[in-house]
């Protein structure tokens, strides 16, 4: 009997709001040998916002950390990271 596996989706959003636009997207499929890679082709983005992913059944398992110190000069990583999951029966 197949068991549900954890599909992961890393979304880097413009702001900590789930309604803000997505800047970065990394899907992780729980399949042996699965790899992600930077593409040189035009991309088909499945979601415009984090909320679009929620509507499609993804659940947020980690919200962006907002406790880090900040100032008005330094820039570091791009966007605010949401980690989402779907528990599904996956072939492969």
């Amino acid at each position: 009997m197949p068991q549900p596996r954890q599909r992961l989706l890393y979304l880097h959003a413009r702001t900590p709001s789930v309604f803000s636009d997505i800047i970065g997207l990394t899907p992780i499929e729980p399949v042996a040998g699965f790899r992600v890679e930077i593409s040189a082709e035009a991309l088909d983005w499945p979601y415009k916002t984090v909320h679009d992913a929620l509507v499609d059944g993804w659940q947020i398992v980690q919200f962006p950390h907002l406790q880090a110190p900040f100032d008005d000069r330094e820039l570091d990583v791009v966007g605010y990271e949401f980690i989402l999951q779907k528990m599904e029966i996956v072939n492969g």
């Binding site: 970065g24 990394t26 890679e37 930077i38 008005d72 000069r73 820039l75 570091d76 990583v77 791009v78």
Partner: protein, 260 residues
């Protein structure tokens, strides 16, 4: 140096904003092909001595269009640094994830950058370098980029043979996988400023200073003031965009010869 090869105000502002500038020099017929053929047959990587193995590479660096961009961005006394590297991406090799070169001691001023020379046409299948315009002022340990794969606004350097891509040293970059049956060659050079500017080293038009901030045509404005104010290649948040603007202004003033 003929001033016709120097960059314009708009091009310098775009480099500050995006962190890259492409030059397609009108190289002598057969030069790219000759360099590519020599690289195809090299049996080891000579490291910094790549210009001794393939001396024609100097013809690329000495081309007026290449020198014009270098002078515009680094001043007339720019230095070609001794470190250089032949990046040969083999057929059927995997992608390389995002990274910034070096350690996390960054300089947000325009004092050094890379020149990436491609002696052949580069197709999407050949594993092009991929850059993320607008990330050059970010200071992010490469380990913390491991969760990113595709980033909106990333640009694969799918370029014509002979293209030199000047990229800010700290611009986020990686490569796509090479799924072709050809080696993808790229020679990386490093350039450095040796003297602070006392005046602009490009084709600067002082009249541009008086161009008003135009909130109605922010996306299409070609003058430096509006480019530096409104351009947002990554579509980042207001907080980040305000910080970027401040860094851009500091760079612009620095290149004009004012105290940064």
């Amino acid at each position: 140096m003929d001033d016709q090869f120097l960059l314009s105000d708009g091009q310098v502002a775009q480099f500050i904003v995006n962190g890259y500038h492409l030059v397609e020099p009108d190289l002598p017929a057969g030069l790219n092909e000759s360099i590519a053929a020599q690289l195809d047959t090299l049996d080891h990587n000579p490291g910094d001595a790549i210009t001794e193995s393939v001396p024609e590479l100097w013809q690329v660096l000495d081309h007026p269009q290449v020198k014009g961009a270098l002078i515009s961005l680094l001043g007339r006394d720019y230095e070609v640094q001794s470190h250089r590297h032949w990046h040969c991406k083999l057929p059927n090799s995997a992608h390389m994830n995002w990274h910034q070169d070096g350690l996390n001691s960054r300089d947000t001023l325009i004092n050094r950058f890379l020149g990436l020379y491609y002696p052949t046409d580069i197709t999407p299948e050949m594993g092009p370098t991929v850059i993320v315009p607008g990330t050059q002022f970010r200071n992010a340990p490469t380990d913390r980029m491991a969760h990113y794969t595709n980033i909106r606004g990333q640009v694969p350097l799918v370029v014509k043979a002979g293209t030199v891509a000047f990229t800010h040293y700290d611009l986020w970059h990686g490569t796509a996988a090479n799924r072709s049956d050809r080696k993808r060659h790229m020679i990386k050079f490093l350039f450095r400023r040796t003297k602070d500017n006392e005046q602009p080293s490009w084709n600067h038009d002082p009249e541009n200073k008086s161009k008003a901030t135009d909130w109605n045509s922010r996306a299409s404005s070609a003058d430096p003031n509006n480019i530096l104010t409104f351009a947002n290649p990554l579509g980042v948040s207001q907080s980040d965009h305000y910080k970027e603007r401040a860094i851009r202004r500091r760079n612009w003033d620095y290149l004009l010869g004012k105290t940064a």
